[in-house]
C-alpha cells in the first residue's frame, strides 16, 4: 500500500469511527507530508463519501457516521479549496431547508456538508421555510435544485410543503430549470411518498441525498 492509500484508509477508519479529531489529524499530517490540497479533496475526502454511498444500503453505515463524515468533509474542503492554486468551477447550486412547520435540522445539515465537499454551492435556508421562500431563493441564487427536508408526516405531506413548492414552480414556468429533492423520516417509511408530494427525487439518507441532488443538477444542465 502506498503512502496515499494508507492515508485514505486511516481517514476512512476515523470517519467510520465518528472520530473527528483523528480525521483532522490525519489530514493535517498528510498536508505536512506533501499531500496537496487537491489530493486531499479529490483522493481522500470525496472517495470516502463515495464509499459511504456505496455501503449505505447495508448495515455498515449509520446516521452518526453520515453526520460526522459530512461535517468533517465540509470543514476540510473549505480549508483546502482556499489553497487550490487555481480557482475551481462550482458544480451547481442548491437551496435547502426544512419544510414549513418542521424544526428538525439534522438531515439538511448532513446533506449540506456533503454537497459542500463536492464543491456545490449550497444555501441553507434554515428551518420552517415557506414554499414561496424556497422558490424565491432558488431563483435569486440560480439554483438547479431545491432540497426539502421533513421529519414529520404532516410537514412532508402538508399543503405548505413540497406540494406548494411544486405548484409555484409550475405557475412560474420553472419546472425545467429547478428540480425538487426531498428527504426525511417519512420518506424512509414510504418510498412512493416523493411521488405523492410531487418531488422529482428522494433519498434514503443525507449521504444518498447528495448523489440524488448531483444527478438532478446534471439533469438540469442537459
Amino acid at each position: 500500500m502506498n503512502k496515499l492509500d494508507q492515508i485514505i484508509e486511516d481517514y476512512k477508519e476515523a470517519v467510520f469511527d465518528t472520530d473527528r479529531q483523528a480525521a483532522l489529524e490525519i489530514i493535517n499530517e498528510a498536508t505536512r507530508n506533501g499531500i496537496t490540497p487537491e489530493e486531499v479533496v479529490f483522493e481522500i475526502v470525496i472517495p470516502t463519501i463515495h464509499s459511504m454511498m456505496e455501503n449505505v444500503s447495508s448495515l455498515d453505515t449509520n446516521l452518526a457516521q453520515h453526520f460526522i463524515a459530512a461535517q468533517i468533509a465540509a470543514e476540510i474542503t473549505e480549508v483546502m479549496t482556499a489553497k487550490f492554486p487555481e480557482s475551481y468551477t462550482v458544480a451547481g447550486s442548491v437551496v435547502i431547508g426544512t419544510s414549513a412547520g418542521d424544526l428538525h435540522g439534522l438531515g439538511k445539515r448532513i446533506v449540506t456538508g456533503c454537497l459542500k465537499a463536492f464543491m456545490i454551492d449550497v444555501t441553507d435556508l434554515g428551518l420552517n421555510v415557506s414554499p414561496e421562500r424556497f422558490v424565491d431563493e432558488a431563483v435569486a441564487r440560480g439554483a438547479e435544485v431545491i432540497g426539502i427536508s421533513s421529519m414529520m408526516v404532516h410537514t412532508a405531506r402538508g399543503e405548505n410543503g413540497c406540494l406548494k413548492v411544486r405548484q409555484i414552480l409550475r405557475e412560474r414556468g420553472l419546472e425545467q430549470k429547478i428540480k425538487i429533492a426531498v428527504g426525511g423520516a417519512p420518506y424512509r417509511f414510504d418510498h412512493n411518498l416523493y411521488k405523492t408530494v410531487q418531488a422529482d427525487a428522494w433519498a434514503e439518507d443525507g449521504i444518498q441525498a447528495c448523489k440524488v441532488i448531483m444527478d438532478l443538477i446534471e439533469e438540469v444542465h442537459k
Binding site: 449509520n62 435540522g105 408526516v153 410537514t155 405531506r157
Partner: protein, 342 residues
C-alpha cells in the same frame, strides 16, 4: 371478560388468552375525536383522558396513553414555546440549551409530579387510573438519558456535542438528563402507569455504530435501567431498527420487552428474543394513510405470521399519523383481532 391487561400479562408469561394484545398508539387523533384544535386538546388533561377512553371503547384495542406529545419533557425542563400544528404533533420551538453555558444552568426539577408542566398529565393519569386502571395497561413515554438532550438543544446540536464537543459538557448534560429520567419514571409509576416506553434512538445501530453502542451508549442504558429496574419497561429505538442489539440488551440489562422498528425483520427479532421476553411487531403506519384495506389486511397477516408462532407476541403501531383514515385504522385493528387469535 378478558381485559387488555389479561392479554398483556398472558403474552408476557407465554400463556394463552383469547388473542394477542394489540396496542394502537393514537395521540393527535384524540383532538379529532373531541372536535377541538390540537393546541386546545393538549392544554387539558381531561380532554386527553376523555379522548383516550373514547378511542379505547370505539376501537377495542388494549391500552391507553398518558403521553400528550414528546416535547412535554422539554417543557418540564424549562422550554416555554411549542409550535403546534393543525394536523400533526407539536415541535419544540424554543430550545432550552442554546449554548454550552446553558448546560450548567439547566435545572432538573426536584419533584416532577408537582411541577406545573406535569399538572395536566397528572390530571389525565388520575382519570385513566380511575376508569381503566388494572383493566387496560396505561402507557407512558420516557426519553432515555442519551436522547433527551436532543429535545433540549436539537438533534444536530446534540450530535455535535456528543461526537465533537467538550467531553465535560457532554457528560454533565447526560448526568442531568439521567437524573431527570429517574425522577420522571418515579413520577409516572407513582401515578399508576403500567408500561413505560423507554425511547432511545441511540440504542440502535441505524444511528450509531456497534462499536459506539458498546462503548458509549450501552453504559448509559445500563445506568438508566439499573436506576429504575426493568418492571414495565419497553425497549424502543424511535422506529430505528434494533435486532442487532437485542441479545446484548437482554444480557446486559435484563430488559425483556422489545418494540421493534417497522423496518426490523420480525421473525428474526422474535428468534433473537426467543423465550426470554415479549416481542412487539410494529406495522409501518405511515403507509396506512394510502394503503387499501386489502393491503392493510395482508400486511397485518404478514406481521402475525412472522411473530405469532410460539406466543409472547404483541401487535403495535409506531406513532400513528393524524391523517390516517378512520376506516383504515379499523381495517388494521379488525385484521389484528382476526390474525392474533391463539
Amino acid at each position: 371478560m378478558i381485559t387488555g391487561m389479561d392479554r398483556l400479562v398472558a403474552a408476557l408469561n407465554g400463556t394463552v388468552s383469547d388473542r394477542a394484545p394489540v396496542f394502537c398508539n393514537l395521540f393527535d387523533q384524540g383532538a379529532k375525536e373531541l372536535q377541538v384544535p390540537l393546541k386546545d386538546y393538549y392544554s387539558n388533561g381531561e380532554y386527553v383522558a376523555e379522548a383516550q377512553l373514547k378511542m379505547l371503547s370505539k376501537y377495542g384495542y388494549d391500552s391507553v396513553w398518558s403521553l400528550f406529545y414528546v416535547g412535554k419533557e422539554a417543557e418540564l425542563l424549562g422550554c416555554n414555546q411549542m409550535r403546534f400544528a393543525e394536523d400533526g404533533p407539536p415541535n419544540v420551538e424554543d430550545f432550552v440549551i442554546k449554548n454550552y453555558g446553558d448546560v450548567g444552568r439547566l435545572k432538573v426539577p426536584d419533584d416532577i409530579a408537582s411541577h406545573p408542566a406535569f399538572a395536566e398529565s397528572s390530571k389525565c393519569l388520575r382519570i385513566l387510573k380511575r376508569e381503566v386502571g388494572g383493566k387496560n395497561p396505561i402507557c407512558a413515554y420516557v426519553s432515555a438519558s442519551m436522547i433527551l438532550p436532543a429535545m433540549l438543544m436539537g438533534m444536530d446540536k446534540w450530535m455535535e456535542l456528543l461526537f465533537m464537543g467538550p467531553p465535560e459538557v457532554r457528560d454533565e448534560l447526560l448526568e442531568k438528563c439521567h437524573e431527570f429520567f429517574v425522577k420522571e419514571i418515579q413520577a409516572y409509576r407513582a401515578a399508576g402507569v403500567d408500561v413505560i416506553i423507554y425511547s432511545n434512538p441511540f440504542g440502535s445501530t441505524d444511528i450509531i455504530s456497534m462499536k459506539y453502542f458498546m462503548k458509549h451508549s450501552l453504559p448509559w442504558i445500563k445506568k438508566d435501567i439499573e436506576a429504575i429496574g426493568t418492571n414495565g419497561i419497553v425497549y424502543y429505538c424511535g422506529t430505528a431498527r434494533m435486532n442487532r442489539v437485542i441479545n446484548t440488551v437482554i444480557e446486559q440489562t435484563g430488559l425483556a420487552v422489545f418494540h421493534l422498528s417497522p423496518l426490523d425483520d420480525i421473525a428474526e427479532g422474535k428468534a433473537i428474543v426467543a423465550n426470554r421476553g415479549l416481542t412487539c411487531g410494529v406495522i409501518n403506519d405511515i403507509k396506512l394513510i394510502d394503503w387499501t384495506q386489502d393491503e392493510i389486511k395482508s400486511e397485518v397477516k404478514r406481521i402475525f405470521d412472522a411473530g405469532m408462532p410460539g406466543g409472547k407476541f404483541l401487535f403495535s403501531t409506531a406513532v400513528m399519523p393524524y391523517n390516517i383514515p378512520e376506516n383504515n385504522i379499523r381495517a388494521m385493528l379488525e385484521a389484528a383481532y382476526e390474525f392474533g387469535k391463539y
